[in-house]
């Protein structure tokens, strides 16, 4: 029966050890390819070069400033998306008429690649922060709304019925059953769309910007500074990893009642 236990819990130590080996493997393959000269440094610099470039970018080229400006754009666009999507998603989940009205609009918006909006938004808003924030909003809000809608409409019927027999009114069902039950799922959806947010802001910065990590990537590429490009990619990865952990950690704190998955 052992082979069927594919979702068996790992101990914390086992988990960390495996995660560590994954990272070591990646660095080993990279080192083998670059140090051996199998791949030219122009295409793949060694880990050491990338490390040195990262330090130099921090010290001499204000990398922190680029990181902060990208983070600022993401934060603003993400916040705006959350402010719109959470109430809208919940509303759609509990109101069949609203669902019928908004569903085609949102599905339509969701299937248009966000990148298609870049030229239009440059035309309308220029290449400043606002253009990036709005692009992120266009890319993230419909997606997040649909995720939240789905979570809310899957509220367990048993809880709703039990609440009614305990004297709840329809508005209590929304505030005291639907929302509390949906919160962990909403939190997790926010974690998922955070990754989408990064993609969108980076895309916007690569296409047209005067600052930010995407801008750093595209200018470094123009000057064939491949190590800088890889450094920027790594930093994005690390920030992503950190936000993901933050979301997971806070979920445990906010929703101690959840069953462990």
């Amino acid at each position: 029966m052992k082979q069927y236990l594919f979702n068996k819990q790992l101990s914390r130590g086992q988990h960390l050890l495996l995660a560590f080996f994954g990272i070591i493997l990646l660095i080993s393959i990279w080192s083998a390819l670059s140090f051996s000269g199998l791949v030219k440094p122009l295409f793949l610099p060694t880990p050491l070069t990338v490390f040195n470039s990262t330090i130099r970018l921090f010290l001499d080229f204000n990398l922190l400033g680029d990181i902060l400006i990208s983070l600022y754009r993401i934060f603003l666009g993400f916040l705006l998306s959350v402010i719109i999507s959470i109430p809208l998603g919940i509303y759609l989940g509990v109101n069949k008429k609203a669902e019928a009205f908004f569903d085609p609009l949102i599905s339509f918006a969701r299937y248009i690649p966000t990148s298609a909006f870049v030229p239009l938004l440059i035309l309308w808003l220029g290449i400043g922060d606002l253009q990036k924030v709005i692009l992120l909003l266009i890319g993230v809000a419909p997606y997040l709304t649909l995720l939240i809608f789905d979570i809310v409409s899957n509220t367990q019927k048993e809880y709703i019925e039990a609440a009614y027999t305990l004297g709840a009114k329809p508005k209590d069902i929304i505030t005291k059953i639907v929302i509390p039950q949906s919160l962990p799922g909403i939190w997790d959806s926010m974690r998922i769309v955070m990754g989408v947010g990064w993609t969108i802001v980076l895309l916007a910065e690569i296409v047209a910007a005067t600052s930010g990590l995407g801008y750093l990537i595209i200018t470094s590429q123009r000057f064939l500074q491949t190590a800088n490009v890889i450094a920027a990619i790594f930093i994005i990865g690390l920030i992503g990893l950190f936000t993901d952990l933050l979301f997971k950690f806070t979920a445990k704190k906010f929703f101690p009642w959840q069953e462990k998955i």
Binding site: L166, G167, P180, Q181
Partner: protein
């Protein structure tokens, strides 16, 4: 008093399925009535209609001269599925209905404390449902409903998902609780033994569509204890009811 008057329930529009047909009976105050019947005979539907969670096709439900038109806290319901709100602690689950009614904090805490005591859950007041066993969860569910002080308790196979040992201890727990609380209870089960052990009266339903087949008065003295289940009188009664039940199950198969 709860009166069920000429109740019928039909599902579907085109091809109709009549689940309940012209069902009438009464549940007197402080009576413990058990309903048994073959599975799929609309017992849950009946309770949900009384609770106001579903509308009858025809007929009326009248509780103390008031017609039932929707769900309300005067009819508490215990479900077979575990329905504790997982995001609330045991204490807050029990206080859920009181909070809805706007009962003051002090009064609420007093009532919650009383039911924690009555259900032997004092030590678990701050636990979340995920950390409780099935039997404990159902005890909390019963406490949560009783804290609301309903006129009648509707129980839909509340011990159906429990193992047989827990089930039997829950039955004893419920009789004790009922003897002190003196609530009107309408208890649906497919377990004849459980029905006889708990109830003052057992109503046997016939299936498809549901109507009353027979009624049995159960006059065992209270307080009732587990040993009662091994007495000859109990066994004979059980055999009679099971025979009647099986004859309707066989008819269903035809």
């Amino acid at each position: 008093m709860l009166e069920i008057q000429n109740l019928s329930k039909t599902y579907g529009n085109g091809k109709q399925a009549k689940v309940i047909d012209d069902l009438s009976f009464e549940v007197g105050d402080k009576q413990f009535i058990a309903i048994v019947g073959p599975s799929g005979c609309g017992k849950t539907t009946l309770l949900k209609i009384i609770a106001g969670l579903q509308a009858p096709t025809t007929g009326d439900i009248i509780l103390d001269n008031n017609s039932v038109t929707g769900p309300g806290q005067d009819r508490g319901m215990i479900f077979q599925a575990f329905t504790l709100f997982p995001w609330l602690t045991v204490k807050d689950n029990i206080g859920f209905g009181l909070k809805l009614q706007g009962v003051g904090q002090e009064e609420k805490e007093k009532i919650v404390a009383y039911y924690l005591q009555a259900t032997n859950l004092v030590d678990f007041a701050n636990f979340y449902p995920k950390d409780l066993s099935g039997g404990m969860q159902q005890r909390v569910a019963i406490a949560r409903t009783l804290a609301n002080n309903p006129k009648i308790l509707l129980m839909d196979e509340p011990f159906g998902s429990l193992d047989s040992q827990t089930r039997s201890s829950m039955q004893e727990f419920l009789t004790k609780l009922w003897e002190t609380e003196q609530k009107t209870i309408l208890f649906v089960t497919h377990d004849v033994k459980e029905a006889i052990f708990l109830a003052d009266k057992v109503i046997l339903l016939d299936s498809s569509p549901t109507k009353i087949k027979k009624e049995y008065t159960i006059d065992f003295a209270r307080p009732r204890v587990h040993d009662l289940k091994f007495s000859e009188k109990f066994f004979n009664l059980e055999r009679t009811i099971i025979k009647d039940l099986e004859s309707s199950s066989i008819e269903l198969c035809k």
